[in-house]
Amino acid sequence: MLSESELISTVEMLKYEHLDVRTVTLGINLFDCASHDLEVFKANLHKKITRLAGPLVETCNTIGDKYGIEVVNKRISISPIGVVAAPFNSAQMVEIAKTLNDIAVEVGVDFIGGFSALVEKGIANGDRALIEAIPEALTQTDRICASVNVGSTRAGINMDAILLMANAIKRGAALTADKDGLAVAKLCVFCNIPQDVPFMAGAYLGTGEADAVINVGVSGPGVVKRAIDRAVESGSSLGLGDIAEVIKRTACKVTRVGELIGREVAQALDIPFGVVDLSLAPTPTVGDSVGEIFQSMGLTSIGHPGSTAALAMLNDAVKKGGAFASSHVGGLSGAFIPVSEDLNIEEACRNGSLNIEKLEAMTCVCSVGLDMVAIPGATSEETIAGIIADEMAIGMINNKTTACRLIPVPGKAAGDNAHFGGLLGHATIIDVKNCEGQNGFVRHGGRIPAPIHSLKN
């Protein structure tokens, strides 16, 4: 029999500390749906996705109910449409996005991710059509997420692609000006994109993956925060090594939950289990914040000096605990710092504790990047391209994933508020140094060569 404290701590994690399975994401390979005929392709998509994903939502709900843990989102990741739908033009790409959106509604999933292109070394015809289609596709759909990988440690950074993406971001935001640029809140630009991310907006199914696979994203910043609080309140003098140990143990427990649910869903659907992504993903709910963990560790606010060190320790401890708990850990696996999705981080931006430069510095040691950052609508394409290039460079040089999800909110300036709704939350628009005139560096285009893999310093 389990001890009372074991039982109670588990019940508290699940019931009061917001531990949930953030997403069960069914990856579906679409290469066998390919066709040069749009109608045939759309019919193939419908047939394959509905066949595999039909029972996904009900299965997740049943298993979540059995264990008393909510599977908050049920999602689908698909092969990159830029490749699968390579014969089509941008208008047809928009049609494909709408078809996928209809399928998402039919099977009841929250999002389909994989309206994606991999262009770190060059842009093929299908990729170009897809990038061209992104603003319209994300405006005309509400359950489709797009991602474009523009750099990698092996290939370098494709500045032509970054410029296209900066343009797409501006256009997408303009098309949804009435919703504060919501379209581009569903768009991520990546360096070193993982093939098995279950989280949106970056989820897609890589070409090295199985025909179908179940990936799970767990969360639980509230659980980590409470564990640190309890350790601090216990009165014993804690070194940072002790706090890291608390985080590690907690991350281990959180990951075990994800592994259990993922394996059972996979078994029920007769689909192989892929990975657990053990990210600390916040939501705009009190007590479900990554920013609050910084305060539990003793900082007055995220963004203040010491924040990068604290985040480095947090991120590493989460990875260590998770890696021990599951034999297959993947995706992004670390701490997310999405501004609008985290009440505490949003507040730090609002009161000036956190600015975009510090956010960028922190992304050197966290698992994603400049995520859900609302910037002034007047920010130029060159400036957006420059911010993306900077973030991609961090990922490329440090051999890690980095991403940008920037929303230039039309008609609004620094200090104004942008509302995206739901899990996307709201954000105070953060000031950026807008380039005046031409930014010759990004307008050069071409590629930044891949970095040398020796002489590390």
Binding site: M1, E6, I8, V11, L14, K15, D65, K66, G68
Partner: protein, 183 residues
């Protein structure tokens, strides 16, 4: 070989288990299963022992009581039906926890819902000490829910009952507790 069940209950103190075991050893018995617990200051132990062939239950019972010298310990001895092997009905183990203020009849109310569903309680721990600390006001039932029982209905009925008693009730498969707490 026949089996006997012995239960011993009384004020806890050092040496109780040793005394019972000594007598059983002297009478040539083998302890097959033993479980003991202490509630507040009270000891309770239950022993399943196999006795030598040909042992007469009445004689054994007398001999045990004569040899067992512990004062203030109530001992109950009973022969055990051993013809039918114990078969656990097929089903799954769930954990029900309740947290909330103490009041009379809580165990009765909750266990009645469980019994009426035809579900067996495998293990029960209940602590009521008042105050706000959840660890001091809880019930934990481990139950075996047979495959024939609709656990959604059971869970719903339990939660309704708990709400009327101002208790927070959870109903979860046991695996989640094992998974989180045991490596």
């Amino acid at each position: 070989m026949s089996k006997i069940i012995i239960t011993a209950i009384g004020k806890d103190r050092p040496g109780i288990v040793s005394s019972v075991a000594r007598v059983l050893f002297q009478l040539g018995c083998n302890i097959e299963n033993v479980s003991q617990t202490i509630l507040q200051s009270e000891f309770a132990g239950i022993y399943i022992v196999s006795v030598p062939d040909g042992t007469d239950f009445e004689t054994f019972s007398e001999q045990f009581r004569e040899a067992f010298g512990e004062v203030g310990l109530h001992v109950h001895i009973e022969s055990m039906e051993t013809e039918l092997p114990h078969v656990e009905p097929s089903g799954e183990h769930f954990i029900i926890t309740t947290i909330g203020p103490d009041s009379k009849g809580l165990v009765y109310d909750i266990s009645t819902v469980i019994a009426e569903a035809g579900v067996n309680i495998i293990n029960l721990t209940a602590v009521f000490e008042g105050g706000d600390n959840p660890e001091k006001n809880i019930m934990v039932y481990e139950v075996l829910v047979p495959d024939s029982v609709d656990r959604h209905i059971l869970s719903g009925t339990l939660k309704e009952k708990a709400a009327s008693l101002k208790l927070a009730l959870t109903f979860q498969h046991k695996n989640i507790f094992d998974t989180v707490n045991r490596i």
